[in-house]
Amino acid sequence: MIALATACLTGSVAMAEVVPPSEVTFDGYAVEQSLTGTPGNPEEGRKVMTTKSMGNCVSCHAAEDYADVPFHGEVGPPLDGVGERWSEAELRGLVVNAKMAFEGTVMPAFYKTEGFNRLGDGFTGKAHPEDKPVEPLLTAQEVEDVVAYLKTLTYDE
């Protein structure tokens, strides 16, 4: 109840204020503050995670809940039950930049725009133009949607 109230409060304060990737504050590996102030939509989050051109999390992670999507990867652990294992803030931190929790992990940082080696222009193989702003892999709202979906991945459904 208290957690919910706090979430609503921060929500209204941060209304329409999108936190840019460079300004995300970590508490350890967790990110308390919503990136948008708008609650995530789990339906959208599921789509982001299972669509190749979006999060494409399915390329590395399997999960019972999206068993209908073909070809689940095995590079990362299955995501069944992550909604119980991790808090919302922890899940947000994992999606924003999993390296804060798992040093040296192969899981990409989905909300980060700096510090890359030989950054390309998408999948073109060409250098990212200097004058073009770097887009994070997911938008702030997509991160919130994914986090909302991950929270639904519990064992007791």
């Binding site: 390329s59 689940h72 990867g73 095995e74 590079v75 192969v106 890359f116 950054l119 390309g120 222009d121």
Partner: protein, 269 residues
Amino acid sequence: LAFGAGAALADEDAELVINGEIEIVTKTDAPAHMDGMSTIMSGWRFRDSTTQMMEMDDFDNPAMLAVEDAREKWSTPVGSEDKSCADCHGEPEDMAGVKPVYPKWNEDAGEVRTMQMQMNDCRENRMGAEPWKYDAADALAMEALLSSVSRGMPVDVAIDGPGQSTWEQGKELYYARTGQLDLSCASCHEENYGNMIRADHLSQGQINGFPTYRLKNTKLNGVHSRFKGCVRDTRAETYSPGSPEFVALEMYVASRGNGLSVEGPAVRN
């Protein structure tokens, strides 16, 4: 349950014998310079059995058509000197043993050379012919021919001596994370071989089978083009085929296969 010849299952324990006579080592102890892993395996072990089968007989291996074309080119005089490869090198079979040690240090040139670089040196400086475009059809067909005559011989790329600094550079590139996905070759081919990444069964990214005929694009594919594709998939700026970086990376990756048999031209999906 009898597993028929065409069963489309990945068989990581299958053994490869080509044409019923050329025994190919597709799994062996890792060379001493690799501290990350103990066993090395050819990409052949990670393919489904239909794809595996295609490599077991030259009549079923689509790459062999290009090899036959290259055989003709081998003995066709070209260039201002009107010379053919055969004029200086004899039969392609006389080149058995060349492929396993490439890329290698060339003393006169003072650089590490891939086989394609060496072939182009002959074309430009000994035949007065145009160099072949890197990893394009002509170069790959000839590389496939010269690989085919060495099939079954162990890959044996030197990592010390004057080529060592190039090898070190290649090693650095292998472990360097690139692109917005921040992945290195090792992220996929050392830490995750055997795992599925979406629909792809990750191999160790060995190059003993190159050039490879890929069912996906139905042609021969060169080592550098494959590297380029993998680097691009990390959302990075790639290097170009023939670039010094890819030459160094090829040398390093080839040496990770020291002990596997030369297998090219292999069939992959």
